[in-house]
Symmetry: C2
Subunit: 433 residues, 2 copies
Amino acid sequence: MELKIPHSNKKRVVIIGGGFGGIEVAKRLKNLDIQIVLLDKHNYHTFQPLLYQVATGGLEPGSIAYPLRKFMQQIPNGIFRYTEVLSIIPEKNQIHTAIGELSYDYLIIATGSTTNFFSLPQETSSKMMQMKDIPQALDIRSFILENYEAALLLDDFNKRQSLLNIVIVGGGPTGVELAGAIGEMKKKILPKDYPELDFRKMEVHIFDATDRLLNTFSEKNSQRAADYLKDFGVNVWINTAVTNFDGEKVYLSNGKTIDAQTLIWAAGVKGLPINGLPEGTIVGGNRISVDEYCKVKGFGNVFAIGDVASMVQEDFPKGHPMVAPVAIQQGTLVAKNIIADLKNRTPKSFKYIDKGSMATVGRNRAVMESKGIKMGGFFAWIAWLIVHIITLIGFRNKLTVVTGWLYNYFTYDRTLRLIIRPSKRKLNKRELS
Amino acid sequence: MELKIPHSNKKRVVIIGGGFGGIEVAKRLKNLDIQIVLLDKHNYHTFQPLLYQVATGGLEPGSIAYPLRKFMQQIPNGIFRYTEVLSIIPEKNQIHTAIGELSYDYLIIATGSTTNFFSLPQETSSKMMQMKDIPQALDIRSFILENYEAALLLDDFNKRQSLLNIVIVGGGPTGVELAGAIGEMKKKILPKDYPELDFRKMEVHIFDATDRLLNTFSEKNSQRAADYLKDFGVNVWINTAVTNFDGEKVYLSNGKTIDAQTLIWAAGVKGLPINGLPEGTIVGGNRISVDEYCKVKGFGNVFAIGDVASMVQEDFPKGHPMVAPVAIQQGTLVAKNIIADLKNRTPKSFKYIDKGSMATVGRNRAVMESKGIKMGGFFAWIAWLIVHIITLIGFRNKLTVVTGWLYNYFTYDRTLRLIIRPSKRKLNKRELS
């Protein structure tokens, strides 16, 4: 069955995924005499860099989500369909979705990435929390709050401790920002909400298997981030891997264990490619191998961009970092090259312009590096705020994020401590037995 | 097993339910030398009058929810437990909860109300949407948006129509406000989001079994409300009941049918009493019969307030209206009478001070009645806005609601068209088969 879309004799560009890369392609092609079809399994774009603030009750999901149909209002030649893509048949220029088949003239795979649990068995990883989309961030919020409610009911010190403690695995920007936010909550918010619990005894741990946090940053900034986290009461562990987790105990590569029921896995991501690409196309990190034009090898009209694409270039022997700026720049390139192709012009190859990186570690504290400048502290934090506000999509989202941040800053509070959808786990019964 | 709370030799007041009534009692008793225990099955207070704006994408759930633990920060002698109360044993001054037993010196039942489907069989009512809490409001939001996504995929005119149409049963303030908001969406928002669908063909219906909408208001205001709704393209049906619904067709008492897959039942509420009260205590509307002191008959220390309480007084032969002001005033009374009891003073009886009622019907339009004044239009709408902002709990909530409303007003938009938790129903598969 064919996917129902308005009939058109124009060339059709199909974009799979409305993340940073996908929407950039659509924006750049909006004035062309072609048909653009954007597909996504969510009906909104997610501003992933702020997911950790949703998880920790600082922002509402609606502040970091942007409806894709509202985005498409500015793409007059665009059509959106809310569906999952099941597979592609590149030899036939066709894709299969949950709502029918669709043919394309150009295909852009911008499906992004998902949590990488590496070789952990599913039985173990299923007990861990992850934070790659809004429902997962809300699950973390509910789970942590439910644990504290359950902790109140226990006399057993170790059991209570395991409900209070939070372990974050992975010392990249996501892990560091999350650890900082939880450290802040531990200090400023939780003791007021739960006067019966002793939060000085709550432990927040962050683990990295390498010899420092933020290992894509300078050593100085790694050190700063670790110091900031320690100020917020976070235990920073380097050269230490998590080897196992049974839902109550975390097992470490150094032989030690930590009692904790909440383990958030931020130790890696992997590409989310689509079935149907030939063998050999999928390379390390489950990414799709592309040439310097973001073209999937062997096909003239199939592109992959962003997290899911792996382009080996000088300085990037394992592909580019899985961050928004790469996705946006590759989206721009692919859009330009499609225009070039339509006009029989020569395509351009990709050159990543690294504008720098930054990570915040809570109130007044961040690290940033850009074009040789490396700094930390308050001004890095202000820069972090400004960059995130500017890159957020949608005026209402900018407005509500600024409002929320101002409120949180001046009140030392995060009021979104709401368990709207309780986790499946029946805490009360289980914990008490 | 006993519910674990900090030991105390003080008298204990247990409040079941953190709605308008329950929190009022806690606030009024906060300076007494007693122990207050507040129990709720949610960890937040819900500002129910604005639920319909969450359902229609105008506000985020976090704007109308207030964490009960944050509320309890201002109740120094208060303890909160997140749990469901299973039953009470008034002879033993004890309650049973999902997390253990608890004894009380004074018990306040402030459990509120739930949707009343009257004699409709469960098989029928389970196909209808309801809107008494935040998860339900979010379900309505997701369900409507999923229906439009599905409608895009259909060629069959009747099937598509049944996905577009929305039926609201019940012409009270909830039904009228919801119908107005949906009428506005139909006019201003949906045609932009779904340019492929013809929203002139979308039908919004509101039904009331009596001879007018808002039948607790004056006839003039009923007429105004009906006129406003018609301006927003809503079909107003009076003297008409919905007799059946099979998930695709709505059957009416006049023999007609309407194709619609979304039916929101706002035709009635009933009390949500607790197991364990003696027979005869539960009266009409599933409410708990109380005397003029809000005392449950037969017990000196068990009170019921708000929606769940039925106090027969002059002018109120069937009990007071199930609205927030009654709950707040009864909460105040019970708190004062508990203080009186502790000091061996005479309790006061309840006298409802009706401050009036109001309902908004969308942009610039509302009706209100207070102390003889009956008005409609723009000034009633401004009054509605102000009253709701003032009565909202929490500064952050006031702030985000005002921000959201200003944005919505000036942009003619509601940007929260997000399907965060899709409904269980697998639309795509079903609709296409």
